[in-house]
Every structure is written in structure tokens, then in C-alpha cells.
Amino acid sequence: MSIRTEKVSERRKKKEIRDRWLLSAPALLLILAAGAGPLVIVVVYSFLAPGSHGDVRWEFSTKAWFDVLFTRDIFDGTVSIADAHFSIFWRSAKLAFATMILCLVLGFPTAYFIATRAPRSRSLWLFLITIPSWTNMLIRTFAIQEVIRAEGIINTILMKLGVTSAPIQMMFTDFAIMLGMTYVFLPLMVLPLYASLEKLDFRLIEAGYDLYASSFGVLWRIIIPLVKPGIIAGSILVFVPALSSYVIPRVLGGGQGLMVGNLIELQFGQGRNWPLGAALSITLVIIILVAMLLYVRNTSRSGGGAHG
């Protein structure tokens, strides 16, 4: 009797699992077709030879990967490190990192402010933070442009006040890109920070003060270690899209203001070197994966582990 019920429940379990695969099939197929699957194609393309008018010729070649790292001089054939690629990757990494820090410096107090409001008004403040992030990213980039362009409000105000006689050039600089990225990605930092801070046990802070900690001491030695998961999550959420940003540098950066995203696009557009573009894309994905792994590992190792 018991063996029989066991068999029935076994069968039922199997059916349930099969049903669950069936139910999730449409979503999985969709993502496989237009999200994960094409990535495999990018990897394949990075090992092919470029066609004469874009696209590829179907023969195995590692030239694209060679070109990611090195350039061959067209006259004497000497091989040197591909400075252009390195400098663009390095510049993108610096800009993304600076954006991340700026978002953290602005976002942490903001998230803390929201988390310490009365429970009823918190969702309103939170809503105020998220509103801009649900307006089109392009529109927000355009809005930043309105503020910093030569005839924008900053320059207009400065000139009316007589601080400067000629408009300050802010557009088409790295500063413009960084400002734009901070503006666009700030909510991505605030939300995970808030999620961590909301769970913070303020009795621990009270205990800290009872033991004569200064408010900076409480911040540095109690609050920050406790909300570390939120800091990590927010930093990754800002760093990753900033590093691979395409629209913001295209609109706010100048001709010299390329970032990795624009470099990749260039290979598929004017450059007509699809394998190189594919190889650069894979390089970007690898860098992001490595950065995420390093970051998560480093921060989880260095203390704070006792609090989970």
C-alpha cells in the first residue's frame, strides 16, 4: 500500500516538474532566441574573417582577437600594442568607476534619508527617486544637455551674474559624460542601498552611541559594514551599464569622447569589421564578469562576514 502511494506521488511529482518546464518554455525560448542565443553567434563571429562590405567570410581566423590587442603597422609591418583600444577601455573603466563613486557619495545619504523617514512617507520619497528612472534615458540625457550646453541654464545664469563673459565649454567633455551617467544611473544605486538600510536594526546604532561612538564612528563602523550587500549591489548596478554605456557618450561626449560601446558600434558601422566588433563585445562581457567576480569576492572577504 505504502509502496503504491509512493509510486503515485513519484509520478505526480514528475508530472508537476514537466508541467513547470512547459509553463516556463515560452519565456525561456524567447530569451534563448533573442537574448542568450545570439551571444553564441557573437563568439562565433569573433573567430571569422571580415567580409569586404561588412558581415563576414566563413573561414576561421583569429585576426580579430589579435587586432583587439595589437596593431600591425601598415608600412613596415611591426607589431605593437593596440593603444587606441586600450585607451578607450581604460577611459571607459575610469569614467564608469568615477560615476560609481559619485553615485555612492550622493546615493548613500539619500537612501539613508529615505530609510529614516516615517514608514508612511517612505514610499513617497522612494517614488520620487524612481520617477526619473522611468522617464526615457534618452530624454534624461537630453535634459542634461539642456543644462550644460553653451546656451544652457548654467551658462546663462553664470553670464547674467557676470561670473564669466563667455560660456564655459561643458558639452563634449568627459565631465559631461560622467555627469550624464551619474544623473541617469543614480536611482540604480539608491534602490538597493535603501533595501539594505530599511532592514537596519537601529538598536545597534543606539548601542554604538551608548558606547560613546561619534556619529562618524557609527556610520563607518556600524552602518556601512551592515549595509555592505546593498553597497555592492548598487555599485555593480551602476558600474556595469556605465562601462558599456552607448547613448550617453554618443550624445554628451565629443568626437574624442568614445567609450567601449561606441567603439563596438563603430566596427559594425563605418569600420565594417564585424569580427573585430564581435571580439570587442566579448572582451567587454569578460571584463564585466571579471570585475563583478573580483568585487563580490573582495568585499565579502574583507570583514562584515559575521553579519551575513
Binding site: I17, I31, Y112, F113, V247, I288
Partner: protein
Amino acid sequence: MAESFLIKRQPGFATIAVFCFFLLYLPIATLVVYAFNSSASIAGWESFSLRWFESAWNNQKVIEASLRSLQIASVAAVIATASATLAAIATTRTAPYRGLTFKYSMINIPLLVPEIVTAVALLILFSRIKIWTGYSGLGYLIIAHSAFCVPFAYMPIRARLESMDLSLERAAADLYASSFQILRYVTLPLLWPGILAGLMLAFVVSLDDVVITEFVKSAGQDTLPTYMLGQMRRVATPEMNAIATVFLVLSLAIVTIIFFLSYTPRKGKN
């Protein structure tokens, strides 16, 4: 209350927070205000006028791009939400089974892979298929948008499912309802606000997309964001401000509805 407030206080934080909110809204406010300026230049304020809204309304390209955006976003949002709902039911409130983590990571792939890389990947894939089949309609954009909208639709639906009380479904099962009947008459009606929020979220996300659309679209298939991107390289007239303002109002209306749909009054102290 006052005492606990003092304990929570960190010097300077409130100032930075207020500054942050100010910074977040200043550029958007500028953009909107100057949409109503009669002058063609953004430099100075002349007088209140609706001429740029009128000029956008009479711009055939803007209207076409807007309609195309709405069309793609509605179809993609429905496809994404339908598949995300099924996937959410399949992945919640279940004993862990083999493949569950695989499903989670698959669903999140569109969030993790940089948009530019997905865009390039789809450019490669679809340009092949366009040559093979000769079809170059909106289908490609709809498939691409549906795919990256799945995780956005999935999130609120899953959250709703996880916070839902199981007892009603158990009661239905005790009364010999089939699993389909439970789904149809108990789970789905309770899940409805989550599904609606997911649908709208997917709609907004699709409406906002620039990068993937820019790479996947065929000639003459501009959506409103790609049209704007093209225009932003040239001299911008306040017509752009007007278009942006309308777009903004639309997004905000949808997001406000989502907020109230997913808003559940908190009980208890915290």
C-alpha cells in the same frame, strides 16, 4: 519619536539628500519649461507658447515614429507578460527542482548582458535572417523587445505570487478543483494586479529602448527614441522639448498607475 529620530540622524545627510532630489528634477523641469517657450533658441525665455507642441503634432515623422513605438511596445509587452506570468507560476512556491536556478539565470540574462552587446548580437542574427527570408517587417523589433522585457514583467508578478496567501489555493484543491481550475479561478484573479504592473513595466521599458532598436531596425523603422537620437545630433529646436514632454507625461502616467497597483498599505508598526 523625536528621540529615535536623533539616533538615526547623520550630520549632513539630509542636506545631500535634498540636494540630490533637487538635482534629479532640475534638468527635467528645465526641459519641460522650455518646451513652452515661444523663442526658437533655448538661450532666453520669450513668452509662453504651444507652438512647439503644434509643430511636433504636424511633423509626420514624429507621428509615424510614435505610432510605431506604441505598436511595438503593446505587442511586445503582451508577449513578454504572458510568457513571464507562466514562468513566474512555474518558478515560485515550489520545492527546489533541478533546473530552477537555470531558469532564474536565463530569465535574468537580458539584465546582465550589456545592451550594446545584445544589440550587436541581434544585428548579426537578424541581418542573416533578413537575407534568407526577405522579410524585414516589425517582427524582429517585436521579438527583440519581448525578450528583454521578460525579466521586467517577471519581477512584479513573481513578487505578487510570493506574497500571496496559499490557503485559498489549498482550499480549492481540497474541494477537488483541478490544477487548471485553481489557476483560472483562484490564482489568476489574485495575481491580476501583479500581471497588470508587469504589463505596464514591460510597456514602458519597450517604449524607452534606444540601443537595441537602433541596431535591429530596418530602414524607415524609426521609433520615437531612435528618431530623437537622430535629431539630437543636429541643432535641437524646442520641438524636441515638446516631444520629450509628451513622452514624459505618458511614462509618468503609466508609472503612477503601477505604483498604485503594487501599493499595499503597510500594517503594523514598520
